[in-house]
């Protein structure tokens, strides 16, 4: 079905056939989506913009995980730890080296990528189940180091340091409606990179490692170095997301999360959105974050109604909803929301002949 295209749709060159935007409606959809995103601070309230901001930088972290777990098939439970590296790196570069946030951001990405390489070198020697455990090492060691070493820089057992706002012209990035544009702009760039990777030599090598590592090796793909590349890209994007999050929250450290719990939720987002698809991170992250907000809302209402149970009610809905949603997806739609969307689209394309 994927090959069906409207009649009269012919390409005149391979480059044209390889282009991402090929139909008028592709341009329309993209235009409307971009317009909605960029005007969000004009029509959305502060809550909506803050949520969109959180979604934007979380999508970047999950895009990184998607390269490693979705495309290359290497499970990782340490994405949140590499966000922590990026957050600290960017904060320290701004505070102590006096760099602009906009210069510190790519450097933070490289720092997280480099730390990722070190852990990747150690953990990628094992496969599957064992790899998941090996990546736990990073998720335990990095947050521990942040609390117990270089205390004057990293905040020690407080688990937090203050992070300054980005400076650019006279813009006040303390307003989330302004900060949102930073997240959105970076997300736009990472998304373009994701689409490029998935349709070129690099992306095909990643998927061949995932789908059949024996065949990939016989066809000249070096398994270890490609897994390492995936690990590097994943950690780099985690670093970018961590830096954006740190400056947005004006603080970084274990007090702000970056826990194993978050790493697991990232995996859940990816599964629900659709592993190995470029749409997946967007759908999965939006789904989970909106569900979390709804859980908090519901918890608040019920807590007001039953004050004696308030403590439990306020905190229990997030994990319960997450667990149930993940289970339902694994059973009924293991390929995620992105696959559902494809089926809907294929159905439209076949109209009026469908069913």
């Amino acid at each position: 079905m994927a090959m069906l295209r409207p009649a009269g749709d012919f390409d005149r060159s391979y480059e044209q056939d390889m282009a991402l935007l090929r139909q008028p409606w592709h341009y329309w959809l993209l235009g409307i989506g971009l317009l909605a995103a960029f005007t969000l601070p004009l029509w959305g309230d502060a809550y909506l913009v803050a949520t969109a901001n959180q979604i934007a930088y979380t999508v970047i972290a999950v895009q990184g995980l998607n390269i490693l777990t979705g495309y290359t098939g290497q499970i990782s439970l340490s994405q949140a730890a590499f966000m922590l590296v990026g957050g600290y790196a960017s904060a320290l570069l701004v505070i102590h080296a006096g760099l602009s946030f906009f210069i510190a951001l790519p450097l933070a990405a490289l720092a997280a990528g480099a730390i990722g390489l070190i852990f990747g070198l150690a953990s990628l020697r094992v496969k599957g189940f064992y790899l998941a455990f090996a990546t736990l090492a990073a998720q335990f060691i990095i947050p521990w180091l942040s609390r117990h070493t270089f205390k004057e820089y990293l905040g020690g057992t407080n688990g937090a340091i203050e992070v300054p706002l980005p400076q650019l012209g006279g813009v006040n990035f303390g307003e989330v409606s302004n900060y949102f544009y930073i997240s959105l702009f970076v997300l736009l760039i990472t998304t373009i990179l994701m689409f490029n990777i998935s349709r070129t030599r690099l992306g095909r090598a990643f998927v061949s490692v995932r789908d059949n590592d024996l065949a990939a090796e016989l066809l000249g793909v070096n398994l270890f170095t490609y897994k390492l590349r995936a690990f590097f890209i994943a950690a780099m994007l985690a670093g970018v997301a961590g830096a954006i999050k740190a400056h947005s929250q004006r603080g970084v450290g274990t007090e702000f999360g970056y826990s194993l719990n978050e790493s697991i939720i990232f995996l859940g987002m990816l599964v629900i959105g659709g592993l190995g698809t470029n749409l997946g991170p967007f759908l999965g992250v939006a789904f989970i974050i909106l569900m979390e907000d709804f859980s908090d809302l519901l918890g608040g209402v019920l807590a007001a109604a039953f004050p004696e149970l308030a403590d439990q009610l306020l905190t229990s809905f997030r994990p319960i909803f997450f667990g149930v949603a993940l289970m339902l997806f694994l059973i009924y739609e293991p390929r995620g929301l992105a696959h559902r969307w494809q089926l809907v689209r294929a159905g439209w394309r076949l109209r009026p002949f469908a069913r």
Binding site: M3, R201, V207, D211, A215, G276
Partner: protein
């Protein structure tokens, strides 16, 4: 050493734990021929291909490629010009037929990680150039209609054909085919035989063919090696193999 030998297998022995899978097997493959390996189930045919493609490391013996490269446990056989298909299909399930073939262009492409991610000038031109090579193969194998379909969803016969295409996309000098016609109906087998002969004649690729169907092998192979329980029991031209008492015994023994 015969200069025409593309591959020379010398005294190869392979065992797992206590079981001997290959026992001092010798044979050679000449440039430009179709060399068949036949034998009853479990004779060690697939294991032999695994040794040639560096996936199994024999305990004894040598595998000499083009007189100079020892393939024993070799990791980079693709770079030497050796490609193969698998008995139970080793495609990349979630990629389209087109991308499976493109993936096999890996070693012929130069773009690095950054170029791929940016997809600027060089990478874009390189993708288009290799796409043209792959499209030529797609035309040759008559799989235009399925090029954008995920291979996991294709029927068995077509998947076998895509896998052949992927091996060819590597532009190998030596092609190893492990039962390319197993599980096919007569018509599909004839198509496959035609493709194999075309690859051999028009593209000049040397082929090692493992196949069960005796009549087919007799028709298209130049020379045949017969394995039985890991030892070579015969080696020669099809008409010699057809009347070799050892071979007849091995095959009749299996049938009874």
């Amino acid at each position: 050493m015969n200069p025409k030998d593309i591959l020379k297998v010398e005294g190869v022995s392979l065992s797992f734990g206590g079981t001997t899978v290959l026992d001092r097997v010798d044979f050679d493959v000449q440039t430009g021929e179709i060399r068949a390996i036949i034998g009853p189930n479990g004779a060690g045919k697939t294991s032999m291909l695994n040794c040639i493609s560096g996936f199994y490391r024999p305990q004894q013996g040598r595998l000499l490629f083009e007189g100079e490269h020892d393939l024993t446990g070799a990791k980079r056989v693709a770079q030497l010009g050796i490609a193969r298909t698998f008995q139970n299909i080793g495609l990349y399930t979630y990629l389209s037929a087109l991308d499976n073939l493109m993936a096999a262009r890996h070693i012929h492409m130069r773009q690095n990680m950054v170029a791929s991610a940016l997809y600027w000038g060089f990478a874009r031109k390189e993708e288009a150039r290799h796409r043209a090579v792959v499209e030529e193969l797609i035309d040759f194998l008559e799989i235009q209609h399925i090029r954008k379909m995920m291979v996991g969803a294709l029927p068995y016969g077509l998947r076998k054909r895509v896998e052949l295409g992927r091996a060819l996309a590597l532009e190998p000098k030596l092609l190893l085919l492990d039962e390319p016609m197993a599980g096919m109906n007569t018509e599909e087998k004839e198509d496959m035989a035609r493709f194999i002969l075309d690859i051999h004649i028009r593209r000049g690729v040397t082929i090692i063919l493992v196949e069960h169907d005796m009549t087919l092998v007799m028709d298209i192979a130049d020379r045949i090696v017969v394995l039985d329980f890991g030892t070579k029991i015969a080696d020669g031209r099809p008409e010699e193999i057809g009347r070799d008492p050892e071979v007849i015994r091995a095959y009749l023994g299996q049938a009874s």
